[in-house]
């Protein structure tokens, strides 16, 4: 844990986050109020939950474009179940079960059918979005959720918004799974070198399927939180382009799209960073058009900085090794 913290401090994206936080405070006096900061975290938590799942898939060397559609499907099914007076188990369980099924089909399309992850999840993205629309006949479903369910998105616990707590809990669980469980290490192994992983006995297909299921499940959870926040299920509008925001968060956080390199905290920092910047733009009154331009530029800058820091790290390690060798000689 301490070594992790040290690595995070040395890592460029945490430094960038701190710089952004300080700069935000300087630009707008309203930024550093506790109310605003909690708003930032709450806004980050939805995309953040999706980004954590995306992070896992990307670590395994894949990509998941279907998450936005899963968010919409899960919300639409939950809202319809609520309207249909289904039991609590169906209401929560059915959307998550459907999400898992989508993840399973993503995994099968990639492993058994041998499709490229980009194409496989493009297909499920289209199909799942269509399924959500067919299911609700294209109309938004308005649901009079009870107080308990609204608590999921609007409630507070220990002075922190509930979605933010959920986001934090999911991040910690994912960190634990990736860092300390066999499956997590296998995901890194596959992402870094699939052939090597297979030859050393990693059940590559099973692990990949698990990664897609995890990502889909988290997207399903995000869909539940979203429908709770909006009080409706929107099969057509919800989650559109979330896959791109999630990929952006993951990339800003420093996870390599080639797989095998990065950590869950990267996705967390990336989601926070996107949320901070858009909050700041709103505070100082930047038009949404230019926000869009800035968002794209930030992704490029973040990736550029990541590459520079990677090269510095390589340089530093070669320097250290060579000096150690010299030390042995003398």
């Amino acid at each position: 844990m301490i070594a992790d913290a040290k690595r995070m401090l040395l890592n460029s994206n945490l430094v960038v986050l701190i710089v952004v936080l300080v700069a935000a405070g300087l630009v707008s006096p309203h930024f550093w109020t506790s109310e605003n900061l909690l708003n930032v975290v709450r806004a980050a938590s939805l995309i953040g939950i999706v980004a954590i799942g995306m992070n896992v898939v990307i670590l395994s060397g894949g990509i998941d474009l279907s998450v936005g559609s899963i968010v919409a499907l899960s919300g639409a099914v939950a809202a319809s179940a609520w309207v249909g007076n289904a039991s609590v188990l169906t209401f929560i369980g059915l959307p998550l079960l459907l999400a898992v099924l989508v993840g399973l089909s993503n995994g099968w399309l990639v492993t058994l059918a041998g499709l490229q992850p980009f194409v496989a999840t493009l297909v499920t993205m289209t199909i799942v979005r269509g399924a959500g629309l067919v299911f609700t006949k294209g109309q938004p479903v308005y649901a009079n959720y009870s107080e308990e369910f609204l608590y999921l998105s609007r409630g507070w616990m220990m002075g922190v918004p509930v979605p933010a707590l959920l986001f934090g809990a999911i991040a910690i669980i994912t960190w634990y799974l990736l860092k300390w469980r066999v499956i997590g290490r296998q995901i890194y192994a596959i992402g870094a070198n699939e052939t090597a992983a297979r030859l050393s006995g990693v059940p590559v297909n099973r692990v990949k399927v698990a990664a897609y299921i995890y990502s889909a499940l988290l997207a399903g959870v995000a869909g539940l939180v979203l429908t709770s926040r909006m009080g409706s299920g929107e099969p057509g509008q919800a989650g559109v382009f979330w896959e791109l925001d999630a990929i952006a968060a993951v990339v800003i956080g420093g996870t390599s799209l080639m797989g095998g390199k990065g950590s869950v905290w990267g996705a967390v920092i990336g989601a926070l960073m996107i949320s901070i910047v858009s909050n700041l733009f709103n505070l100082i009154g930047v038009e949404p058009e230019w926000q869009q331009v800035a968002k794209g530029s930030i992704i490029l800058i973040a990736v550029g900085m990541q590459m520079i820091s990677d090269e510095l790290a390589v340089f530093r390690s070669t320097f250290r090794t060579s000096s150690a060798v010299n030390g042995e000689k003398s």
Binding site: L115, G130, A131, L133, V134, E289, G296, I299
Partner: protein, 338 residues
């Protein structure tokens, strides 16, 4: 000549799928085969087809271009916006140059900065859309184009819709460039085996930048025709999701996202299939939401067939056009044994 034609069919089994779908739709819906409807399909296919054509260049060189939808929007608002004060011909040139500029930016970021194509074009997708929105203040621009430009989308040449003639022309040109010019062959080479291409002296960066520039140019061209068709330019909704349709058209047409394999004719057929299906579904009164699902399934089937070993073997068997070859070979060996 005969073998050349057969080879075209062998390389593009998707042609049979196109014909088969055409027959099926004709069987189920009498209106499908009406000349007016067919021309409609072609007109629909051609605007998105330009984008898919450009995407093919990028995919062949093992890249991907997510920014095309935004480029379509940028080009349409540039043309309509500039035409309010200047003659439209200026707007056309500015829009096309802007498209090329976006493509070159993508290409330079991918090659010189060595960013991953998905990241680069994801970012420029946001940036270009933002610029288009900022230019038009997120409002549609109406009534600036002289009505003669309506001809660009709804006019007829030799009894054929203008966009179709342009699209077929562009496809033929693209096919010639890819098959018979040095740059075209190098695009296949870069996508097929980058290291081999580099060692045999191909300028990788130049080829990649060219493919992105072609994609930007063709997306801008699609934007022009779209603006002429709508008689307006709009930045917020225009071209949203077109990058995925273009990728789908290329993939259905047999283009491998791993680069180096696929043909322009395949992409052409892919774009036609998508347009044909959505047209036929409308005629048959199928719920548009089901259409998405069906198109997704078709995409999955097509790509799974191309990429799996079983699918490849089955295609080869069908493509041989002599179904009993296997048995003949078997007889031969057994007679040899005897």
């Amino acid at each position: 000549m005969g073998t050349a034609v057969i080879n075209i069919f062998r390389r593009n089994p998707i042609i049979f799928v196109l014909m088969l779908l055409g027959l099926i739709f004709t069987w189920f819906s009498a209106g499908f085969i009406a000349p007016g409807n067919l021309l409609n399909i072609v007109r629909q296919a051609s605007i998105a087809g330009f984008v898919a054509l450009g995407m093919s260049f990028v995919i062949l060189a093992r890249g991907i271009d997510l920014s095309v939808g935004s480029t379509v929007a940028l080009s349409s608002v540039l043309l309509t916006g500039l035409s309010s004060t200047l003659p439209p011909i200026v707007g056309i040139h500015v829009a096309l140059l802007a498209g090329i500029a976006v493509g070159i930016c993508n290409g330079v970021l991918v090659t010189k900065f060595r960013f991953q194509p998905i990241i680069v074009t994801l970012s420029t997708m946001a940036i270009v859309r933002g610029l288009a929105m900022a230019y038009s203040h997120s409002r549609p621009i109406f009534g600036t184009l002289p009505s003669v430009y309506f001809e660009l989308s709804d006019g007829m040449i030799f009894g054929l819709p203008v966009p179709m003639v342009l699209f077929v022309g562009a496809s033929l040109l693209a096919g010639l460039v890819l098959n018979y010019t040095r740059t075209g062959r190098q695009i296949y080479q870069v996508g097929g085996n980058e290291e081999a291409a580099r060692l045999s002296g191909v300028n990788l960066d130049r080829i990649r930048i060219i493919t992105y520039a072609v994609s930007g140019f063709l997306a801008a061209f699609a934007g022009l025709i779209l603006a002429a068709r709508m008689q307006s330019g709009e930045a917020v909704r225009t071209g949203v999701g077109w990058e995925l349709d273009a990728i789908a058209a290329a993939a259905i047409g047999g283009m491998s996202l791993a680069g180096g394999a696929g043909t322009v004719l395949g992409t052409f057929c892919g774009a036609m299939i998508i347009a044909m299906m959505s047209n036929a579904f409308n005629l048959l009164g199928i719920n548009p939401y089901w259409q998405r699902i069906i198109i997704g399934v078709v995409l999955a089937l097509a790509v799974a067939t191309y990429s799996s070993e079983h699918g490849k073997a089955a295609l080869k068997r069908i493509m041989r056009l002599k179904p009993r070859t296997g048995n003949i070979a078997l007889l031969k060996t057994s007679s040899d044994v005897r």
